[in-house]
Symmetry: D2
């Protein structure tokens, strides 16, 4: 059965499996102090044009978020995000578990708007009871967002400006970064993200690796002791070179960027098919996630061709479902899915 329910249902790009095989008899230093991590760090810093950043490797996204937030914030500080932010709704309260409040604003097309961030910061600055509320000190965004949308360069720069004005950090969750950078119409580059954020991570799990995220700590003030925070969060992999090796293979020859383009191209074919049938849901997504609103009958029909993710009930009691392509999605799979969409009952 074709799985399009998420972008983490396949293994890894062939180069990674080959490298694991080739190096299996080698012995490496532990805890990311090996040559692969060193090499991957160089490639990433070069690709992101941030030579002075510190690059670390983390097993999964929740840990990446928790480790960075716990590391950066003081106890009385909170993180601002859109209400649909992953840290707010899909991490079983991990951010609160380690002591911090997620201060939310309604998402606009899945994104945190600079105006909304400013309102929170300004509200705090003008609060007559400022010691009785948490201090908004970090803005958390996903690029692309949970809805598949991307921030324009102007939007990112506006967020950065608010952060600069109010002394806040900007942290970018890039679990699907490859697919955001490859989005049609996207005008944001990896160096832009490095330049405009205090820290961000480059998703591997969903973008070609077996597992792993590369955390890039750009702001020098956040660099010291980050390895301590990683270990405390339980996310310092003993065999750290497994992560370095994967990111080396993802960034050598710019594979990471190529992977993204392929997945997005496949998603665009599905999007076109959905649009043609009038099933495409808002907001418009230029990335690998496409959302549709379909009837129960249509869902039953579609499920014979592929597995999609049920997101909940939408308007008219229709079903919001997600089609998610990835680096592994094949032409044949998309052909079949497009045909299934075209053949859906009214």
């Amino acid at each position: 059965m074709i799985r399009l329910n998420n972008d983490y249902c396949h293994g890894a790009i062939p180069e990674i499996l080959e490298a694991l095989q080739t190096t299996n008899s080698e012995a490496y230093a532990g805890y990311e102090l090996d040559e692969w991590c060193e090499r991957a760090g160089s490639l990433i810093k070069e690709a992101a044009a941030c030579p002075d950043a510190a690059v670390h490797y983390i097993v999964g996204g929740t840990q990446a978020n928790v480790a960075l937030i716990a590391h950066a914030l003081r106890p009385w500080e909170s993180v601002v995000c859109a209400d649909c932010g992953h840290i707010n709704v899909h991490e079983t309260g991990a951010t609160e578990h380690i002591g911090h409040k997620c201060e939310t604003v309604p998402a606009r097309d899945g994104k945190l708007a600079a105006a909304d961030l400013r309102a929170v910061a300004q509200g705090y600055a003008e609060s007559p009871v400022s010691e009785h509320v948490t201090v908004p000190r970090m803005a958390y965004i996903s690029f692309p967002s949970e809805s598949g949308t991307v921030y324009s360069l102007a939007e990112l720069e506006a967020l950065r400006a608010v952060c600069d004005e109010f002394g806040m950090y900007l942290f970018v969750d890039g679990a699907r970064l490859a697919y955001g950078l490859a989005a049609s119409g996207n005008d944001v580059t990896l160096p832009d993200i490095a330049r405009l954020s205090d820290a961000f991570y480059i998703g591997g799990t969903k973008c070609g690796a077996l597992f792993g995220e590369a955390m890039v700590v750009v702001n020098p003030a956040l660099q010291p002791y980050f390895r301590n925070s990683m270990k405390q969060a339980g996310t310092m992999l003993a065999k750290g070179w497994l992560l370095g090796l994967q990111f080396t293979n993802l960034f050598e020859g710019g594979r990471y960027f190529e992977i993204g383009k392929v997945a997005v191209a496949q998603a665009m074919r599905i999007k076109a098919a959905l649009a043609k049938r009038g099933l495409l849901a808002e907001p418009d997504s230029p990335t690998n996630q496409q959302f549709a609103l379909i009837s129960d009958t249509q869902l039953t029909s579609l499920s014979e061709a592929c597995i999609v993710e049920f997101e909940g009930k939408g308007a008219d009691n229709r079903n919001m479902v997600r089609f998610c392509t990835s680096w592994s999605t094949t032409d044949a799979e998309v052909d079949a899915v497009v045909a299934a969409i075209e053949g859906l009952p009214e």
Copy 2:
């Protein structure tokens, strides 16, 4: 200057000061294991008709909330409250600091509606990713609410029904309980609150005591080890009898209920004056807190007569201000404030 900005700007009812004086040369056991705490507990359990409850004394409201929430919830569980809930917006993230998420719904007249609580609980029950979100396990309400409104008996019973259906606790923050019970039109009694909640506290700080809140743990499942949670929260007063003595004096002869009536009566006079001038803000409050929307000029004028609390800017850039009476508010003070309101410029 007359202070009506809050209900914690005066000392205590005379009986309490006298008792402190009388007993000052006595020696007592520490940590609430004294005869005063025993006596107050009996009086409270009798007044609330909950003979099997456990009564404890806590210094302040934030500690009361934190100690009970930390005590009752498991790490993956959250507390549901109205977005204006005290734990959500006025405790510097204390609930998150000890690891729990506040899951909020928009307040309706300052209150958490049973329908909204049910939607959260139902949403969790139907979640396709139930392990990736926190489990809503407690409903937190204030009686009266932050807006001065009170829950009707039917509303409380509806909340209880949702809690029963979904296995949730109902926790009632009664920091201003005396003023809620005395509200005009209120049909909820102290025994009702004990009967319908798993735990609640009876505010002393704002209702006649120098300081202190009486936590009534009704649900037997929440009783064991609560003293450990108190100590861990830093809220087990070494000289616990100071709290027992105060609550004994508040509940002997039903003083607690009388205090509430006096304060509410004074508030009603202010409310009438505000209404007459068309300055009263929504929602309608039957308790000791009255909110008004006044212009800058009016605020300047009013400030010559009394101190009110500025709550922020409202419609038409007018100022939302709070008038707060208490057990200590005198007729003369209210006479002066009413006159000031009547004399406000247009």
Copy 3:
């Protein structure tokens, strides 16, 4: 019955009760923003010769410890203390509850020795796995210690030197500070403590107040946002002036220092009686706490005259008990207790 089991079984010095009575009809600003807190702060800063310190008022000792530790430490940092340290053994894990490890060394006469602190700091500095252990960043001591002993000026200076060398904070828990400063042979002054520590608190609960501790934050780096940490710890008293008023009365005319002397003088009489009978326990205490090792028969006999605190079983299955004088201990009480000690069976 005479209570000598602790130093928090009586109310407050008469001046405090009088001041509460006198001011009961006054109205004050909340949250320590009143004139009493201002006045007490001035008196304390003058007495401690630290004009640039920030003074705050906290209800109890556990909260004082928790608020300061949570405020000062980053998540990966630990606090070093003697194994008998109050934070380690008498606060129900409150320090760990808010995320920090207590790193302990064996107490020497109840105290943390500079050599032991240095060994911990040096051990960390030389650790081959420094990211896998917590960073010792604060030394916590009590003055006087849990055993009633005091640090000499040389000992305090040695601790400070270690802290300076390794970039650590020195935090002094002064829950019984009055009795330490008044100890026979003590060569440490309040200005010494202010000069040598980053933060310390002046105990009120055990030293003449109804309740309350005055936190003196000397290190400017620890001053910002401390009120936020207080609120988050639930220890910002709404009626903060109650604390300011008490500390004003304790420090006006140097009462705090006089109180200490009286209590210590009474303790010395009990100590002499115990020594004469060969019952005095190690280590030698020059303060208000005296420890004795007595047989079951002797404990039964003693208990007819006064209540002492049972601390556990000691050598020869004898009972370790504590005699604790305070500002409220009278000559008549000590006469009776001394007589009882003299009359104990062999």
Copy 4:
């Protein structure tokens, strides 16, 4: 260069790499809800003779410890361990970070003795201030211990008896379980561990897998919501099948047990060589970790042949070093190391 400094410096057993290759084009459900996890669970439950246990897969040891401890303990409860316990000294305070105290006793040959555990539990039960201390509620041990020693069946049963008597959980960290079960003289079986513990985990990272630990929750009371705790701890791997696949391959045909035997046999050869030279350190280790005390000159010499782990300075300023074999250690490597030991200068 031969690496014997740890047992996590090589990849994985060939069967695992082959399986990764073979399945790379397959698509699986996420979050451990796949057929590999199901299959591995069956194999593990069969091998451990605990058909009603719940088996989960976690990426690394620190997360396994943190997730289980956070899941099992209430806020006022602590975990008892030997002072050399991994959670106490090598996890950057992760246990305290999520709120729990490690209550330590001196290790005996690297192990927690039942008598010491009983003393802690009894001490709490008899404490006159039981609400002021944490409640010891879990015993944490490693099998084998950090020193390479193993518990005898009698020792494990004695720990269980104490836990039963005082209502405590027994949690076994089996990061090196394969090597403990294969220890010469070991009389403990995997079913014994399952029968005597409330939860334990089977180390994969150090025992043949690329990464991953299998948590076996035996006690039914600890089974509900464990997946929530995993997600909250950030340790629910999106591509969970990668873990299931590895543990399936480790347990099929009893490979896990064979791996252990090979590594221990290699370690015994190194041990014999060290003993012959009189360099073997205490305590005696029957597992894959061997410790030696060698001079600086000897360390320099040894380092030409292999990398060992420096553990710190021991008696006579000699260097405590660790030789660590694993499933990947070859005869040739051991031959070379033995020769190097034999050739060490005096």
